[in-house]
Amino acid sequence: MSSSTTTAGRDTAVGQRSGIAGRLQWRAMAIYVFVLGEMIVFSVLSANFLTAANLGNIALNAADLALIAAGMTLVIILGGIDVAVGSVLGLLALISGTATLAGVNPWLIVVLAVVLGTAIGALHGLIVTKGMVSPIIATIGLLAVWRAVHFSLWGGSDLFAPPISLLLVERFAGIPGVAFLVLVVYGGLAYVMRFRSFGRNVYAIGNDAEAARLAGIRVTRTTIGAFALLGGLVGVAALVFMSRTGVIQAYSGQGLELAVIAAVVVGGTSITGGRGAILGTLGGVVFVAVLQNGVVLLGVPPLWNGLLLGVFILLAVSIDAIVNRRAARRERAL
């Protein structure tokens, strides 16, 4: 009797676990199905889409978006958000560009960008945790602060800077060098989120910060760590941005946060935290990048870009919200 109860209990537990895992996998897979569909549509509509040169362009143009989206995924899973990433990218690109033109050693500039980015990210995390300001409010304010700093350092005319390293923008068998960097970052973060305690802590905090704290997880430290990691990746992205565009303007990076959040959310990460996957975000980035590229190839005026992206964010989160509510209702019914 008792053994059958236990078995039944274990069965339910196993069933639930595989159910959740199944759904997570389904969510991560779903975005790739969408990407495939999107690519088929654009290949049919434009002869220029499915060429090695164009795919290489997409990879190059999406690289900074991809790097930031990877870090943003962690912060969002943790229950936070950082909408200041566009301003920080602009600022760090400006500083790196100025240093490059001044003839500073490229390696030193890489270190500078990453360290500054990490410090800024850590500051954001500190304000959110120790300062007790909600992430959206804190980073909306900081968005304006960093843009103002950017303006004060900006000389009043566009800054033209050479790439930090040609390895980033050169193509190897048609693939831009930076794509390898992106893949390494995603691989590393996917590993961390799955197999390291830091990753598990991020999920735990996103699910229930209070429960995580009671379970002995250092919530403050993990949160600051996630924001700092995002900041560091913004630093790398700033170098990529500078190298691929070659020009830094007063509004460089403005609005980037929207595309980043779109990629993360479309990739299946729950905006309320606790749920999501790094590899889903990679799909989300590809989806957003292919959409932006395909729209241009089809000759749709760039003005439509924001509209399409906005509609896709809303569609993706609507589906997510409806699926979640169904699942919650089923759970309640049980």
Binding site: I136, A138, I271, L303, G306, L314
Partner: protein, 330 residues
């Protein structure tokens, strides 16, 4: 934290003074005014003071909607206020250029604002998308739709049927837009939150969603209405802007959202809902207008003003929350 057990103590209690945000705002506004009048003797002239009130109208209307949505709780925030203003303003421009009477177009524009707000309401309350992400999506979509509809350019043709009076005229020396748009909006919404049953429900829903629904109030319905009001106020903001500039720009709402959130929070609205006042928001509007016109006089660049506003937002919330946490643990 719980006010009934709070014992009144004699003497100066800084945290209590800061927690009555309205008194605090009046004091810092006066202080800012004094500093500014030292910088420029022109600042405290009646003419100048009446004149700068018009810079608070559009932002004040948007901040009022923002305040309501935030008080409604459930993580409520409306990031799309500026985009709603931009899109409804462009719609009005298209109507006027299609031959619709400008005043008729203005009324329809209010309706368009209401619809845009209601769409936000549907996304949040019916579909169940978190407010932050829903209005982030519409921020994008509405603004972009405005650019698409306007083909990326400014629309003119508003100079007809005395429409310019609303944005440029004066009534007894006071800018007409203050008398005809700002004051009525604040009086109406203030009366609603202070005296009407619906106003009380906003606070109940914002304070404790569960308790509210147990006594038969539908949080979803209340919040839906709040998003609608926010859209309506953005539509009114568009009507005022178009009349002021006699032109509609698709990007007119650009940086306004930061200011509206700053004003709401500065005015004592709790970002987690349930607390905040219309009068607090109005005082915060006054403070922001005095501050930014003073900075303008002092020759501070626009972008620095925005940066200062951002820092102000973060610091206000931080000080407020840290003080609340300290008095809560005492």
């Amino acid at each position: 934290m719980s006010s009934p057990t709070h014992v009144d103590r004699p003497g100066l209690d800084v945290s209590r003074m800061l927690s009555d945000r309205r008194l605090f705002l009046v004091l810092v506004t006066i202080a800012t005014g004094v500093v500014m009048s030292l910088l420029s003797p022109f600042f405290l002239s009646v003419d100048n003071i009446l004149n700068i009130t018009k810079f608070g109208v559009v932002i004040g209307l948007l901040a009022l909607g923002q305040t309501l949505v935030i008080i409604g709780g459930g993580g409520g925030i409306d990031l799309s206020v500026g985009s709603m203003l931009g899109l409804s303003g462009i719609c009005m421009g298209l109507m006027v250029n299609a031959g619709v009477n400008v005043w008729v177009a203005a009324v329809i524009t209010l309706g368009i604002g209401l619809l845009l707000g209601a769409f936000n309401g549907v996304l949040v309350t019916v579909i169940g998308i978190p407010s932050l992400i829903a209005t982030l999506g519409t921020l994008y979509a509405y603004e972009s739709a405005a650019f698409v509809a306007a083909k990326g350019v400014t629309i003119t043709g508003f100079a007809q049927a005395g429409y310019a009076f609303l944005g440029q005229g004066k009534i007894l020396g006071v800018p007409a837009q203050v008398v005809l748009a700002l004051i009525p909006a604040y009086l109406l919404v203030g009366a609603m939150t202070g005296y009407h049953r619906f106003g009380r429900r906003i606070y109940e829903v914002g304070n404790n969603e569960r308790a509210a629904s147990l006594v038969g109030i539908s949080p979803a319905r209340v919040r839906f209405v709040l998003y609608g009001i926010s859209g309506l106020l953005a539509g009114l903001g568009a009507v005022v802007t178009n009349s002021w500039l006699l032109a509609a720009r698709p990007g007119a709402g650009g940086n306004l959202v930061l200011q509206t959130i700053t004003i709401a929070v500065l005015g004592g609205t709790n970002i987690f809902g349930g607390r905040g006042t219309v009068s607090g928001t109005l005082l915060a509007v006054v403070f922001i207008v005095v501050l930014s016109s003073g900075l303008q006089l002092a020759g501070v660049d626009q972008i620095w003003q925005l940066g200062a506003l951002g820092a102000l937002l973060v610091l206000t919330v931080m000080v407020n929350n840290l003080l609340t946490a300290r008095s809560g643990s005492r």
